[in-house]
């Protein structure tokens, strides 16, 4: 029955069916007051139902242009993709395997063992997004959602100062900027990071629901970092089915945010052990049903004494790994084997 597809409550659907309105065409030419009388509901509810029923005049059937509203052809998307800028991670090796950096309109999940540098990478991205476009950023603000309490403001200031020094050094070498044009002080970087602290899973879900309205009012936000997305869902959840539903709903909302406002969403995740094929190995937390909720996935791991980043899932990038290091200045290339000084 077609009225089963309307996004209304089950009670209203039952009333519609028992009054004889089993298909959507019967609703199309009805007035709200008539419907309200028939179903014995208020006029507002009747108006709500009629607004959800699709009208036949919505598609453009005139002439040969039969694009359904909201669709894009692959050719248009190709051109759009070429124009999208990416956010640098400050490590040239990681940027290379990512095709330039973290891309907008996609949800990227970054996971790894504790201490590998996930929060450091999150902070680095929140600072880098504020750089002007020719330096690898997007000139926008960042939203940082902290669920674990691992956000250290002093470290952010340290990374921001290092970033500012690099920017000055670059601009002095390329000689194309006047002294006043750089403009930003390290403290300005702090001002553009919007910070939310979340203490329970209900707060986390409420915040993600609220982000749509918040970002409509703050259109210059270009990245949302959630550190970490899994913390409040790993403990004390008795109803696993409810957890799966909440997580998949949350994943869809984040995807929609990324696409609608053309920003990057970075989710930091923890690891857990899984027993498969006779041995234990590390996988990202929250199970298989969460693992499809991101567009790209990067796994950070130790190889001997060095940190590596590995692309685990991506629709258009090849699987590759790159070494990186966490320094006092933030995330940088791993220079232990390299005898030449690299220009940042």
């Amino acid at each position: 029955m077609e009225v089963g597809r309307l996004p209304i409550s089950a009670a209203l659907k039952g009333k519609l069916v028992s009054a004889g309105y089993t298909s959507l065409s019967l609703l199309s030419s009805l007035s709200p007051s008539h419907l309200a009388r028939d179903l014995n509901i208020s006029e507002n509810e009747a108006l709500d139902i009629l607004n959800h029923a699709p009208h036949d005049g919505r598609i453009d059937t005139s002439g040969g242009h039969h694009i359904i509203s909201g669709a894009q052809t692959a050719w248009d998307m190709l051109h759009e993709e070429e124009l999208l800028t990416r956010i640098t991670t400050s490590s040239v090796d990681i940027d290379n395997i990512l095709g330039g950096g973290i891309s907008c309109r996609e949800v990227t999940e970054i996971g790894g063992v504790p201490g590998i540098g996930k929060t450091q990478l999150g902070i680095q991205l929140a600072v880098n997004v504020q750089l002007p476009v020719h330096c690898g950023g997007l000139g926008g603000k960042a939203i940082y959602i902290d669920t674990e309490g691992s956000f250290m403001v002093e470290r952010v200031l340290q990374i921001a100062e290092a970033c500012w020094d690099d920017m000055l050094a670059n601009n002095a070498i390329s000689q194309n900027v006047h002294a006043g044009q750089v403009g930003m002080q390290p403290k300005d970087f702090l001002e553009n990071i919007l910070y939310f602290r979340v203490c329970s899973y209900t707060e986390q879900i409420a915040l993600i629901n609220y982000l749509d309205k918040f970002i409509s009012e703050h259109r210059d936000v270009k990245i949302v970092v959630v550190d970490s997305i899994t913390f409040h869902f790993r403990q004390d959840f008795e109803d696993m089915a409810l957890r799966t539903r909440l997580l998949s709903g949350m994943a869809l909302k984040l995807m929609k945010l990324a696409k609608k406002f053309c920003l990057a969403v970075v989710l930091l995740n923890q690891v857990t052990t899984k027993y498969a094929e006779g041995s234990f190995h590390l996988t990202l937390a929250l199970g298989d049903s969460w693992s499809h909720a991101c567009t790209n996935r990067i796994i950070l791991y130790w190889n001997g004494n060095e940190r590596y980043a590995y692309i685990d899932k991506s629709p258009s990038l090849r699987s590759a790994s790159a070494p990186y290091a966490v320094t006092a200045r933030g995330i940088r290339n791993n220079v232990s084997n390299c005898k030449r000084i690299k220009l940042m």
Binding site: R5, I68, A241, A276, D288, S289, S291, D312, K313, P315
Partner: protein, 321 residues
């Protein structure tokens, strides 16, 4: 299934006299009409003073009822339809084509399940490119995870058309890529909207005779269904079944192939099994399980269910970068 009162505006023979005749016997809607014993109703009508009009009215209601179901088909009609309309679309992947004896069949819904990063999106993009290029058909790609990559489609098209690694001509590339339409949907009701619009568009095109849509891909349908499945009440399952029945109807009436992807969850003994539960298992026509050898480009696919091929067969294939 309207009430007799509402039918009166369209068919004036169902006048208030007839309606009160029916009301006395407890018949208010067409549905009640179907439940009652027709012969006793006819016998009653013949005994009334205006029996002629009542017989005409009863026939009118029966005519309305007859118009509501699909026409009867016999085996010969179905065979003709299968041979003329329900061809097979190659997927661009030799191992998969070999397993499915040609590829995706139009008129059938195929499910591809696999753990994360096992190649489902890559396979969908490859199939979309192949159908757009080789079969010159329109592809509708419904994307729920922002994973449609136009660059990857362009790379696949270059591989398919010029294996000697030359570049495709931009004009041809543009024409082929313009026949792939991508929608981003983030909840199941938006998907219903998209399919509804598509149905109207296909109906219109069918009348004009220039229907060239061949394939619908939904990547992935499980991320739309998981948020609503399993809560109290069976609303979620009802929506899932309703979505599949709409897809099957579109596939059969407009000769489209439908490809949907699903993720996997842990099963007994740690072996992954397709998600969405027991009631989902009966819905698609063809079910495939995909896995990838760790870190390589080699994929393994096995057939879980097919209407005309024995299940349990497996095949390997490679998708190049």
């Amino acid at each position: 299934m309207a009430s007799l009162k509402r039918l009166e505006t369209e068919f004036p023979i169902l006048d208030p006299d007839f309606q009160s005749f029916c009301a006395l016997r407890g018949i208010f809607t067409v549905q009640d009409f179907l439940i009652r014993d027709l012969q006793s109703l006819v016998a009653d009508a013949e005994q009334q003073p205006s029996s002629e009009r009542f017989m005409q009215a009863i026939n009118q209601v029966l005519y309305v009822i007859d118009g509501l179901h699909q026409p009867w088909l016999n085996g010969v009609d179905l065979m003709e339809d299968a041979q003329k309309n329900k061809h097979v679309l190659s997927t661009g992947c030799e191992g998969m084509d070999f397993l499915l004896r040609g590829g995706l069949r139009r008129g059938q819904v195929t499910e591809l399940a696999g753990p994360s990063s096992s190649g489902k999106t890559q396979f969908c993009l490859l199939t979309a490119s192949t159908v757009a290029y080789k079969h010159m058909g329109g592809v509708i790609y419904i994307d729920t995870g922002n994973s449609f990559s136009a660059k990857r489609i362009a790379r696949f098209l270059n591989q398919i058309s010029c294996p000697a690694s030359e570049e495709m001509q931009p004009r041809v590339l543009q024409e082929v890529m313009n026949s792939i339409l991508c929608h981003s949907v983030y909840d199941i009701f938006s998907m219903f909207d998209v399919l509804h619009c598509l149905e109207s568009k296909l109906k219109y095109q069918m009348c004009r005779g220039d229907n060239d849509e061949r394939l619908i891909i939904i990547d992935s349908i499980s991320s739309l269904i998981t948020p609503i499945l399993g809560s109290s009440g069976s609303q979620g399952r009802a929506l899932m079944v309703s979505a599949m029945s709409l897809l099957k109807k579109l596939a059969h009436e407009y000769n489209l192939a439908v490809l949907v992807t699903n993720h996997t969850v842990g099963g007994d003994g740690g072996i992954p099994k397709p998600a969405l539960g027991e009631s989902w298992k009966t819905l698609p026509h063809v079910r495939l399980l995909l896995s990838r050898d760790c870190g390589s480009n080699t994929y393994q696919v096995s057939l879980l269910k097919h209407p005309s091929i024995a299940s349990g067969k497996a095949a390997k294939f490679i998708i190049n970068d």
